[in-house]
Amino acid sequence: MNSQTNSLSTQDIGQTTLPGFDNPVFDATTIFRTVLDAMSHPGTVIETPLTCKSPSKLNSSAASVLLALADMDTTVWLSPETECSNVSDYLRFHTGCSLTQNAKHCDFAVLNGMEGPDQIADLPIGTAENPDRSATLIIAVDHFNSEKKAVLSGPGIKTTSELSPSPLNSKLWGWMKDNRNYFPCGIDVIFASPTHICALPRSSEMDI
């Protein structure tokens, strides 16, 4: 692309030259369907159908979810652990989203699984009349084989399912259980390992 016709030149965005989706239209659809599938089947671990080269603090699955869903109409908040110019430049360049320091005003939030719930205490959970005005939280983890497991039930789950993202700050388990108490308000969580995703919508009941 000619930098003169693009408001964001390579210089403006630092060293970010990582590519986004190979095929923006079809890759976005594929990733959306994976997230929709995950959100419709809480606790089910689903392989991310494609990989993208992403900054080191944002794994490939987490990056692909944001590439598919974030754009100039959305605001993204990055936690202290994931916030860095590589990540913000990457997201700004590929999605056009705004980044905010203020967790109260975001549509998407990104957290590293090792961080604690204090960081996400301010995320919007929606209101009784508009519970959809809430943040979607993407939590980056390494895998889904944690020894600690939560048992989920509720919409999307035939009997029960298990949730075992790892590594995860031990205080996040309690935060997730509390999140259900605000229903229909609340935060929807998408766990993203480098190769898989798994969702925990606000509707899931959780036994730890």
Partner: protein, 306 residues
Amino acid sequence: MSQNTTASSYNYAYLDEQTKRMIRRALLKAVAIPGYQVPFAGREMPMPYGWGTGGVQVTATVIGPSDTLKVIDQGSDDTTNAVSIRQFFEKTADINTTEKTKDATVIQTRHRIPEETLTEGQILVYQVPIPEPLRFLEPRETETRKMHALEEYGLMHVKLYEDISRHGHIATTYAYPVKVNGRYVMDPSPTPKFDNPKMDNCAALQLFGAGREKRIYAIPPYTKVQSLDFEDHPFEIQSWDQDCALCGSTDSFLDEVILDDKGNRMFVCSDSDYCQSRQDNSMSPSVEHTLSQASQMQSVNSEASK
């Protein structure tokens, strides 16, 4: 026309990518809050509202080249509406289409849920004209929003009970209100109440799109969907004295077909694919009759041998 037509790039499935992302975000919220109506900024579609623009926008947003689409209207794949929508997606999304319920990954529907049990991985997209079940009780959106927030559904029960006092039974037969996962009262779109039980604990994902009112709502798989009723007047589905005149089905939703001006009529399955596959699979009546006689004899024999 919309601004999209001036874009130099070809829009897969008609919608531009920004609109799709906006609808996708709304769909994910809808799945996370079963039965709650998520507002979205709908786009004008190249067809009139009565043609199911809400459903079309949802389908256009979820569909990809590996999908197989089925479109039904009143249970039939062959009505003008169903054919137009199917052709629209064949043209704009380059997808395969089918009339077979079991072969479809995405089914867009108006007024019916297929008779064949839907399976895991399928997505059923409903075209919804009026998404708000409380609208006829309260015209103001600000008020209905409050009523949902406070779970103030007493008036809805009063309305159904008025049916009972007037008709001796609940007379509502279409768009019969349901409660989703014990929380939100939801309009199941103008499907017959016959189909309500199919929504309950369904393995498929159910998505609802209202184009004019710009609302999206959803029922995730395996979600409890209860038709509102009363202890002394439990919910009941329609039933017919006749069987389907074409396939003999005793448990499908039947349409009355007028045969001539002398008042002759017959009842046939509203779900054309279901009816056709039953006709294809069934043996000729005489063979069936013989077999059933044979099996009766066998059971008599086995009784005798005990």
